[in-house]
């Protein structure tokens, strides 16, 4: 894997104001993304896993600036895209795209497949109308659809087919970087693998860089080169896939991995059962967010936030357990 950095995220945060006082001052805030640092290399797939509500999707959308971040920076090829104005950002969308989670909600019901997939070409005025139609036909073939389905409406298709339309739309501009926001979690198990394979094939074919968001560890294991774990808006661990599944360092990651069922009756796994629920992001615990459920929690964990540190080459973890060793 080439180690050229494509996307670098520094201290990215997003707060949502959920309640305002009468005068309009924020009263309640949800810290959906809380100081995330990430690096995505060109050509790789970075998997992002975490429970629902941990800020995975918000992270993906803030990187693409579909949601304006509160603070931090997103460097794309070394340039901070958060400083771009509306038109500059619009032009960036040729290079960075999003594959949506729900193929039922993300396709305009009033447009035909042709219009849907052509929309990015229309937006940037690429080619003549007949050239655009040709490009649409080409990408449709690539995602495994027939050209003859062009004039149909999305409601005439199954979930898997619709997701192919969504993928075709995201890739028709030949982007470099694609955020896949749980692209298979709305699909039937039977078509999941088809769509996953399609996503992988297209990566090789078009030389894409993916940020693959999922809550499904086995899906992430299948598609990713590196994996990052999020918990309550923070990244707690990042590592190469093999290292990640073999030597998880963060207690939360260990608990997550122990929950993967192994399809073998003779293997008994030691499941780490986490006590309690994820704390509300409205009122996250101080210090390490995980300390309320962590078996190893100390006084220090309750007070100061552990930084994300490199424990092994390429293996980052945010946990006070590993403080002493690095001192």
């Amino acid at each position: 894997m080439l180690n050229e950095t494509l996307v670098q995220v520094n201290g990215l945060s997003k707060q949502f104001v959920t309640a305002k006082t009468f005068t309009g001052k924020p009263l309640k805030k949800v810290q959906a993304v809380d100081g995330v640092d990430l690096t995505i290399h060109k050509g790789e797939t970075l998997g992002i896993v975490g429970e629902s509500g941990c800020g995975k999707s918000t992270l993906g959308r803030t990187i693409l600036r579909l949601i304006e971040p509160t603070s931090g920076e997103v460097l794309y090829h070394g340039e901070n895209i958060l400083g771009y104005n509306k038109e500059e950002m619009r032009n960036m969308r040729k290079k960075m795209q999003l594959i949506f989670q729900d193929p039922y909600a993300s396709l305009n019901p009033r447009m035909t497949v042709l219009e849907l997939i052509r929309a990015p070409l229309d937006a940037f005025g690429i080619g003549s109308m007949s050239e655009r139609t040709e490009m649409v036909a080409e990408i449709m073939k690539l995602v495994g659809m027939q050209e003859s389905q062009m004039n149909r409406y999305p409601h005439e298709f199954s979930g898997g087919q619709r997701q192919r339309i969504v993928i075709a739309r995201a890739l028709v501009l030949n982007p470099e970087f694609v955020v896949c926001d749980e692209p298979v979690s709305a699909l039937d198990v039977s078509v999941r693998s088809q769509v996953l394979n399609l996503i992988k094939e297209l990566q090789a074919h078009k030389n894409l860089t993916y940020m693959f968001i999922s809550h499904d560890l086995s899906v992430v294991k299948y598609v990713s080169d590196r994996v990052a774990v999020m918990y309550l808006g923070r990244v707690v661990e990042i590592a190469e896939k093999e290292e990640f599944y073999a030597h998880p360092l963060h207690p939360y990651t260990q608990a997550l991995l122990s929950a993967i069922p192994i399809p073998d009756v003779d293997v008994t796994t030691k499941r780490i059962i986490l006590e309690g629920d994820v704390p509300s992001p409205l009122n996250p615990p101080a210090g390490c967010h995980f300390h309320t459920r962590c078996r190893y929690a100390t006084e220090q964990c309750k007070q100061c936030r552990p930084p994300l540190r490199e424990e092994a080459p390429g293996h980052f973890v945010a946990c006070h357990l590993y403080d002493k060793e690095s001192d």
Partner: protein, 290 residues
């Protein structure tokens, strides 16, 4: 597999679905028939709604006067046709005025929010908190009653319906994932508005347009009935009814009030049926009946 271009096929689908909606087709036929009759008959038959027939005051239907005459000897049929002209004109024109004011304002408020939302929607609230009939009465009496002022006043005061409706729709549609997806592929504001938001927000507007037309026809007749609308000798269905208020007319000369009443009900119903038909036709999830 159809080899049509996408635009054609969409409208063809809509048309096909609309034409398979029986009530809507009947309604449309009635309205078209009315429009034709109202436009053509006066020219062809040389109807005269103004001159009194001195030989026949309050004559029952039959003979020279198909629907009889009123108490000043004017031909009821001729007045009905001329009245229809006025009523339909007021209805459609004032609904169009309401639409032209309300829809852009509602879009602006719903899509850009912020200061637009505050100004426009609070204005709508203020407009809606007035009893509209009284406001119309006052305005009409200030400007002076005529077909055009009635149309204008009903039209302008009707904008809140459209604005509120499209505002609410746009608010929900702008949060839809397909709108976000359009932004994610770099669609600009205007195409976003016209290709994603308006098509998805417009079905209720069309339905409301038909409903509003019906309402305006009724409002005009109510105004005329109160003597503040279309002024005699010019006829409208409302002021024909207004002229038929006395108990003797109601009980012994039904030809003076039954025909305009029936026409009014028929027209309003037909327009509403057409609205229903349009709604069903624009819903792309409903299958085309073969």
């Amino acid at each position: 597999m159809k080899e049509t271009t996408k635009k054609d096929s969409y409208y063809r689908d809509v048309l096909k679905k609309f034409s398979s909606h029986k009530l809507a087709m009947i309604g449309l036929c009635i309205i078209l028939l009315e429009v034709l009759v109202v436009v053509i008959l006066p020219i062809v038959m040389q109807l005269d709604p103004y001159t009194s027939d001195v030989l026949a005051f309050s004559a029952p239907p039959g003979g020279a006067h198909i629907l009889g005459t009123d108490d000043t000897g004017r031909d009821v049929f001729a007045r009905l046709i001329y009245g229809g002209r006025v009523s339909l004109l007021v209805g459609i024109l004032s609904a169009t005025i309401s639409l032209c004011i309300g829809v852009p304002l509602g879009l602006l408020a719903g899509y850009y929010k912020g200061i637009w939302e505050t100004i426009i929607m609070r204005c709508a609230d203020i407009f809606m908190s007035f009893p509209s009939m009284i406001l119309i009465l006052v305005l009409v009496s200030v400007i002076g009653p005529s077909v055009w002022t009635v149309t204008l006043v009903i039209g302008v005061l009707g904008w809140t319906d459209f604005a509120k409706l499209i505002y609410g729709n746009v608010l929900s549609i702008r949060e839809k994932e397909y709108v976000e997806s359009a932004k994610a592929v770099g669609t600009k504001d205007l195409p976003l508005l016209f290709k994603y938001i308006i098509p998805n927000a417009f079905a209720p507007i069309l339905i409301n347009f038909t409903f509003r037309t019906a309402q305006a026809i009724i409002q005009e007749s109510a105004l005329s009935f109160l003597g503040m609308g279309v002024q005699p000798p010019q006829a409208s269905w409302g002021n024909i009814l207004y002229a038929a208020q006395s108990i003797t007319v109601l009980s012994s000369r039904p030809w003076l009030w039954v025909p305009p009443g029936i026409l009014l009900v028929l027209t309003v119903c037909s327009i509403n049926f057409v609205g229903d038909g349009i709604r069903d036709a624009l819903d792309s999830k409903l299958k085309v009946k073969k």
